[in-house]
Symmetry: C2
Subunit: 436 residues, 2 copies
């Protein structure tokens, strides 16, 4: 795992106004992304406070050398895939140099300050061209909650504690935070209906997930051993894997979810690096004593002792009426990544164990991360028990599933005493009505 | 559907030696691909007999004009995605011009002949960069055969005759014909075992499928109506969706196949165009009277009357001992695309019905296309009844599943009286032993 160094020091201050104490992007974070300012030209950037540092312009100043410059050069253009492919060395060198340049008292302040853009005036894009997208199912409370709705006495299937269950998703329909999501139409069949029908989904749901950005990756036929899996993870994001539960229930046998999921997925646009999250590493927490020991290809001492994460996760709902009445967003859920039954490294090792190749910019989702309590559910189908017990809002409204105009906001933050709080930024989207 | 024109005339002859009567690539076919001759430089090409015409070099001669030239320009480089994106107009114009240039008596013969390469000296590549890969399940006899092994009394699930069942697959591990396939290792659990174990798959299988290359595609949120779906299909290939049945049985609940399929898929490298296959269109054959009428979004008169295909499909097995003893390849199966329960247009319309976007170069698989008879099964798990009844070979060997060194060859041909036979070329690969 990444060791802690000076870039993590909670006492570090930045000369960038608003960066110190920023809930997401203090100088200890420095996430990577692709943005376009007012001129519309896409370029790589670094979030710092409410500003974005233009990485290509920074390279042009000559302030980056060696591996730092290599990283910034690779980031050039409209996607960060080539930077992700370089692996940890250049990424860490760039982080160390950015930490120096943005630090209070930096002698280069006057040369760097003109390269900042007010984030509020910029458009954020997908940070990489996503080759393949895979979604896992490592939130054990989610698996249990969903399983209970189908099999009350035996919610977890026999393979769950042996196999990091995953399946392939759709890469083309992944969009950055802020892109509205069109309610899908599709086939469904009510239990009491004689025949299926086609129309707008009536059980539109969210899924609270983390995304994993793949770094160097592997050649076809050459698995990534779990001991080196962390070297192939370039960073993390939030992921909302929107789901149409009525379409899903009718289509998913025997080959899994398809149209119920592929109409849209939303991610937070910043790649939060493994370095930034190093203070929030914890031992594997979600595997109780007595559970089966993972097979050797999934077992690594360092991963067991420090491969999990303690990150607070929140889901907020804003309805048009809540917004009009001036109510704050309604928190549906407060969860935590410690509820993942498998680590990110186990996901990577399993995915490649049969020889499947991962490529720079591929995205892995964790699956929905729910906690054990009702107010820690990462989806509405869990929080409302399949729509039976609606959520009540301050506006007097109820919600079983999402309605047109509703907005969902996901947040993730590392919070630990003695360290700066590190956030992912927001992952948000509004639901638009189905096409007529 | 594509109308028949002079390019389909069975009486057409080519000046290219060996093209007339070629079982795959007569002048009536003219499939598109990407190849590299001895110099190793990748470029677009057209198969004609046992030769490949260099399309970039042809463009350089000035013999292409207007839309023909537009198509050849778009094909430039190492992938045909931009050509596929252009749609049918330029593709048809190019076909018509190529048919003139390669025809016996063409006044341009002396200018074109130097641009031919002996296919035996060339390497063939994937014809396009595959963004997303989706696999369907439209072979109804396959679905019944597999279903019978799990549910003897009720082999087809209730959704099968309403929903063109599909799921997302892995794009990164698709390779062109000739690339060896490494036997995957993975988790499996024998029915009588107390715990799962990890090791080389012992039930390695093939799947006989057709692939569909997507042309222009659609924007996210804008479904492709079935009536215009054919305009978004740029061509077809053979597809072997290799499957590890022991891994599949243990991992596939509840989200579908994952590592059982993503270690490799093999495709034939030529894009056989809708124009070339126009003579082999037939009415929907696999949907017996009395079956449910498709929902309106899947129903189109022209698709019902001429949207299916009559293409002969063959699966051959070559073992090292068969080869050494000089035996011909053993035919495991003879099937036909008329056993598809859903058409290619229905696959496209369904895939996009919820708004999912298809992009130029995306690949759709049909799923395994088996006929109703034992000798028409598109996979070994069907042909051997799950390994219970082995196939006997002329070498005295038996096969339940594939062994190291075995080679599988898929073939597809359109054969119709009064028309030239059109083939797809071969889709073949040898099985290599698992990594130690």
């Amino acid at each position: 795992m990444t060791s802690l160094d000076q870039t993590h020091d909670a006492a570090l201050r930045s000369w960038v106004k608003g960066a110190d104490g920023h809930p997401d992007f203090p100088i200890q974070n420095l996430p990577l992304g692709v943005f376009s300012p007012a001129d519309g030209v896409m370029r790589p950037g670094i979030a710092i406070g409410d500003q974005i540092l233009d990485l290509t312009a920074l390279l042009g100043t000559g302030l980056l050398q060696g591996e730092e410059a290599l990283a910034a050069e690779a980031a050039g253009g409209t996607a960060l895939n080539s930077l992700l492919a370089l692996g940890a060395g250049p990424r860490r060198a760039l982080r160390a140099r950015l930490s120096e340049l943005l630090r209070a008292g930096s002698p280069e302040r006057d040369r760097v300050a003109p390269l900042l853009h007010d984030a509020a005036t910029c458009t954020l894009h997908l940070p990489a061209a996503i080759g393949d997208y895979t979604d896992f199912y490592v939130g054990i409370h989610h698996a249990e909650n969903i399983g209970k709705q189908f099999r009350p006495d035996n919610p977890l299937l026999p393979n769950y504690k042996h196999v990091p269950i995953g399946y392939h998703g759709r890469a083309s329909s992944i969009r950055p935070s802020g892109t509205p999501v069109r309610r899908p139409r599709g086939q469904s069949k009510a239990p009491d209906a004689a025949e299926p029908s086609f129309g707008p989904s009536r059980r539109l749901d969210l899924e609270l997930e983390l995304g994993v950005w793949i770094g160097p990756g592997n050649e076809l036929g050459t698995p990534i051993p779990i001991g080196v899996a962390p070297a192939h993870i370039a960073g993390y994001c939030l992921l909302n894997d929107w789901s149409a539960r009525d379409i899903q229930a009718w289509e998913y046998q025997p080959l899994g979810p398809f149209l119920a999921k592929n109409f849209a997925s939303t991610i937070s646009p910043w790649i939060v690096t493994p370095e930034a999250l190093a203070p929030f590493r914890i031992a594997q927490a979600a595997r109780p004593a007595g559970d089966p020991t993972p097979l050797p290809y999934l077992l690594d001492e360092s991963d067991q002792s420090g491969g999990a994460f303690d990150l607070r996760l929140d889901v907020f709902l804003v309805t048009p009426r809540l917004r009009e009445a001036g109510h704050p967003p309604h928190r549906i859920s407060a969860s935590n990544t410690r509820h993942m039954y498998w680590t990110m490294a186990q996901m990577v090792a399993h995915h490649t164990s049969g020889g499947c190749n991962l490529q720079p910019g591929d995205l892995l989702g964790t699956g929905t991360i729910s906690g054990p309590e009702r107010d820690a559910c990462g989806s509405l189908v869990e929080a409302t028990l399949g729509g039976k017990e609606p959520i009540r809002l301050a506006s007097g409204e109820e919600r079983r599933f999402l309605e047109d105009g509703d907005e969902i906001i996901l947040r993730a933050r590392g919070i630990r005493e003695g360290f700066a709080t590190i956030g992912f930024g927001e992952c948000r989207a509004v639901i638009l009505g189905a096409v007529a």
